[in-house]
Amino acid sequence: MTSTLKGITLKGSAELVAEFFSFGINSILYQRGIYPPETFTRVTHYDLSLLLTTDPKLKSYLTNVVSQLKEWLFECTVQKLVLVITCLETNEVLERWQFDIECDKSAKESSAPREKSIKTIQHEIRSVIRQITATVTFLPLLETPCAFDLLVYTDKDLVVPDKWEESGPQTIDQPEEVRLHSFTTSIHKVNSMVAYKKTESA
């Protein structure tokens, strides 16, 4: 386990980051109303009250993605994770939550754990999740029915696993961008930002 007092190993760091993504994605789905709020249940984590989905299909999808992501984090081959929200009627991308991952590859060679307290990391993750919740104040309302997708930017020489395929970057044209806080486990550094389509001011 990574929560020993000895320090953060590469495997532990990968687990922490994957866990953050799982909770973060659930929070975003709840906040943006992609799925109805009654399908979410409250849990406590990082000393915060967070929401997790109970929809079985969605759960299995998220579990698949997060477990594959954990592997890639351990191999340090993943560069970004992007959550894209698309409008179903017009097929255009309305919001783009981008998490840039910088991996310290020297941790792969040396297996010595690094000194960083779990509390500090959790504090940093807490601030990011609080910011995600606070984005509700300025993000435009999603009035049309929307669906989401998770994209992973990996190194080119990676073997594409089963059930995964290549896709486009699905960018927004002329977006408004807001950078959020970042956190680091001393092996992986995650920078978060959200880009959204500018609403036509009436």
Partner: protein, 647 residues
Amino acid sequence: MDLEDDTTILTTLKSFNSFISRPEHPQRLSEHSAGSGILQSQYKRSMELLEAAERVHSKNRYLQLDQEKKQMELSHKRARFELERAASDSARDLEHEVDRNQELLGQIKKLEERAEEVNKKLTEQKEANDALQKNLEGLNKTLEERDDKLGTANQTIRSLKDEIRELRQKIQNQDSKMSAQTLENQELQEKIDLQQRKYQEVSQLCQSLQAAQSSCSDHIIKIKELERRLVFQEQDFAIVKTVKSEVARVPDLEKELKRLRDDNAYLRESRENCSLLKEEVEGLRKKLERMEKTKEELINMELEKEVKVWARSQSELRAELTQQHSKTLEEQKKREAQDALVRRLQKRVLLLTKERDGMRAILESYDSELAPTEYSPQLSKRLREAEDILLKTQSHNAEMEVCLQACINILFFFALLNSVCACIFFLRQKIEDLERERQRLEEQNNILEMRLERHNLQGDYDPVKTRVLHLKMNPTAIAKQERQQEVEALRQEVTRLRDLVRSLQSGGAVGHSQDDTHNPSFSLSLAPSKEVLDLRKQMESSELRNQRLKEVFQRKIQEFRTVCYVLTGYQIDITTENQYRLTSVYAEHMDDSLLFKKGSNGSMQLMETEFSKTLGEMVALHLHHQKSIPAFLSAVTLDLFSRQTTV
């Protein structure tokens, strides 16, 4: 005891009564029976018994009454006792009561006094109350005013609260803006950091460039030194060449020497005119001295120049370039002058040689003419001196040539210097251009990096290094598929409904007879038409039933009518409403018929027909008289039947 006696008496009485009554019953029953004597005795007995019973009874009553009386007396006594007690008690009570009464009266008086006082107080209180009420009214008014003020204050409070809410909202907005701005700030700071890093890198690059430049200049200096050394070496080489050429010329000079010695020997042999030779020699000497001076001057100048040149340091070269230029020009001029001098000297040498040849010729002539023994030592001395001078001039010549060469070398050197300076200048300009180019490229690089970062932020990626992956079965794809399927299903339903509407519109105009043909298509296209089908089936079944009923009814009616006809002999037809026509089976003519009409009250009346006119008698008899239609009809039938059989 008495009571027990009573009870025994009562029981005996009862038994006695019962005994009496028993014989009475049979007495009643056998009232009419004989034996009156027995009866009388019995009766007497019974009467006696009765009397005894009565006596007993009366005794009993008497006893009872005695008892009762005693009881009563007792009770009376008791009552009297009690009454006395009660009386005494009541007397005591009365006394008490009287005392109490007096006390109460006193109290009453006191109370009355108090009541008066209280009344006074009441009145006072009432007055006070009135005053207070007035106060109250005043206070109420003030209260109302205050309520109004409160109301206004509440309104102001509400408005203030609204303002507060608005302000809070503004504060919240500002907070959100602030947070957004702090986010932007952080972003900008990060950018600034990046820029600073880049600046540092660039400064490092600059420093490295400067180091490179300094090394470049050092190299250039080294190059110059090497070139200078090369030049010196070339000069030395040239000097060596000249020396070699000189050395090559040495045997020739030795040969010349030999020849001159031979000439001297030859001259010694012959003696000539001194004075002319002396004068000429003196003149030559003077000329030689002058030449020597000029040559020495030239040599000194050149030496000074060389000294000046060789004494200068490298670092003053640039500053003296122009001077050197001018000097070179001067030197060139001097060189030209020197060339001219050299030419002159050469010409003088030629002249000298010519003079020498002339002198030799003269000497030969003198030798041929005279036999000079006096002049020979002086001449030889002078010859030797002349030879020495010649040698000296030759050496001076050589030196001059060397100097010339040196001058040329110096000029070449200067030219090289110039070229080197030009090169340096050119290199400097190139360096400046490259610097500018580098700065421009750096700016472009920065802009491109900014753009790249911006694109990275927006999600662009370098396809050479990165790949974008997602799961095939992702929620967006699934949602799109479902939407597509929905759309498809809706389209299909729309086409189906359109066809149905069209067919309904065309089917409705045709009519029910084609329902069967349309039914299959309806049943195929519409699910809810089951109800319609059921209803149709029901309708059909009811229609069939109706038809069958009608058939059955008709058959039955027909049967009934034939039976009626056969049995009664009349065929009854309904011509119009309530009119019935009867045709007999034995009618003589086809249209012999009787017409009956049903009246409003329900009775049947015969109508006038031709046939009925012939039956006037029967009508009168059966209808008018007997008032029976069946009799009339049967009479008619019989009549017709009899007519038929007879006929």
